[in-house]
């Protein structure tokens, strides 16, 4: 129905872009994928997302939508199969709240990877404290969405696959398998899901990219 005119502008290594790809794949929506070189932003990106100039951008029937969690909600409302969010207002609100936490902690973990010394330690501490809360949220559940992957699993989708790379590059630990056993079990469930496991970027490229960004971060003067 709507699948004829769906385009996704994204970056292969982006965990945020992958949220959108996973959502489209889970719902069986056909789309055209357009790779963006984020080091050399295209005119198309600047036209589709003039405000933030960032990927991912979903274009449906020529109308662009930016911000991955907003895109997920749009996808969920437009293609009703495989619902990602609960119909219940409170559950939806909780998912949205934890979605904002997922974004915040992804950024904290990324910054922790990029910096060092006390600054890294503070960021790691903050991320770990939130991981403890996330552990409570996932206890006793196969996925955050219940029996199936949902909005919040996608929002946290950077944890199973990107975070270990960041931990390696940053020589740090944020998820502790002993302390975060429920998260660790969820990680396995997530990575072995048929749609997810076939939609992950190459790890070696992720390592190279992360090292590059870490080096740039250290060399950029910050105020």
């Amino acid at each position: 129905m709507g699948s004829q005119n769906v385009k996704l502008l994204s970056f292969l290594l982006s965990p945020i872009g992958h949220r959108v790809e996973w959502a489209l794949k889970l719902k069986g929506v056909d789309y055209e994928y357009i790779e963006e070189d984020i080091f050399n932003k295209s005119n198309l990106l600047l036209k589709l997302n003039p405000v933030h100039k960032k990927v991912p951008v979903l274009v449906h029937n020529q109308k662009p939508i930016a911000e991955s969690l907003i895109i997920l909600e749009y996808i969920d409302q437009t293609w009703k199969q495989y619902p990602l969010l609960s119909q219940h207002p409170y559950q939806r609100a909780l998912a949205r709240f934890w979605g904002t936490v997922a974004d915040k902690i992804a950024k904290t973990s990324w910054v922790a990877m990029c910096c060092s010394g006390d600054e890294q330690e503070n960021n790691v501490k903050e991320a770990r404290e939130v991981m403890d809360k996330i552990e409570e949220e996932i206890k006793g559940k196969k996925f955050f969405g219940g029996d199936n992957i949902g909005y919040l699993d996608l929002a946290f989708g950077w944890i199973p696959y990107w975070l270990p790379v960041w931990e390696e590059v940053g020589s740090m630990q944020i998820v502790d398998p002993l302390r975060h056993s429920a998260i660790s079990a969820w990680i396995t469930n997530f990575l072995t899901h048929p749609v997810i496991k076939d939609s992950l970027p190459p790890r070696d490229k992720m390592l190279v990219y992360s090292h590059r960004r870490k080096a740039e971060f250290s060399s950029t003067p910050r105020g």
Partner: protein, 224 residues
């Protein structure tokens, strides 16, 4: 009457734009609620219990179930009480409303705050530049009386900071960002918004706000 809504409690601080957003939405929909003023230097046990992740206000508690993050709370209110909708029904228009309200919180407000309350002049100037760019995006986006059309919507409520808090900041620190020459539509919108019957009743006293910002500015510039 109260049975329709269940028990609704709101924890906030009087001067904060975020708690005011929630109050505006509840009052627009005629929802009865109890308001609790928090002392942020001495957070109540209830607040720590209801928002263990961020320990911040506002927090809405509906029939014992807590929610934090003002934009999340606004959407919940809209999902729960259907009268006077603040979000559009159409998925694309909804997505735009969510986009612009996030833009206000993630880009606008931080830039404006930094433009006013940073000791370093170069940083202040850079943030002022960023603020003007952000305001320009909003100016371009405003096509009707309100962002929500003929009535107030999510984006208007989120942008309340620009209508009321920003002018107070400007007065307190001697900054000029929202000029009517540069942003005629936004300037006019600000007046319409603050004169809206529900909003009018839900703004903190201006002189107190200016005083608060003056004190904040003084403490930042003194610690150079």
């Amino acid at each position: 009457m109260a049975k329709e809504y269940g028990e609704v409690q709101l924890f906030g601080v009087g001067g904060s734009p975020y708690a005011r957003r929630v109050r505006i939405a509840l009052e627009m929909k005629g929802v009865q609620y109890t308001y609790f003023e928090e002392d942020l230097r001495n957070k109540s046990d209830l607040l720590l219990k209801y928002n263990p992740v961020h320990k911040k206000v506002p927090v809405l508690v509906h029939n014992g179930k807590p929610l934090a993050e003002s934009l999340v709370i606004l959407e919940y209110i809209d999902d729960t009480w259907g009268n006077h909708p603040i979000l559009p029904q159409q998925p694309y228009d909804r997505a735009l409303a969510q986009f612009w309200s996030r833009f206000i919180d993630d880009k606008c407000l931080p830039a404006i705050t930094k433009a006013a309350f940073t000791a370093n002049k170069e940083e202040r100037d850079n943030s002022a530049e960023e603020s003007l760019e952000a305001l320009q995006f909003l100016e371009n986006e405003l096509k009707h009386k309100f962002f929500g059309g003929e009535t107030i919507g999510l984006v208007d409520i989120a942008a309340g900071f620009i209508a009321f808090w920003l002018p107070a900041i400007e007065e307190a620190v001697g900054l000029k960002l929202l000029s009517c020459e540069k942003f005629p539509k936004l300037h006019k919108w600000g007046q319409e918004f603050t004169n809206h019957p529900v909003v009018k009743e839900n703004l903190p006293p201006r002189d107190k706000l200016v005083g608060f910002f003056k004190a904040r500015y003084a403490s930042i510039t003194a610690s150079k």
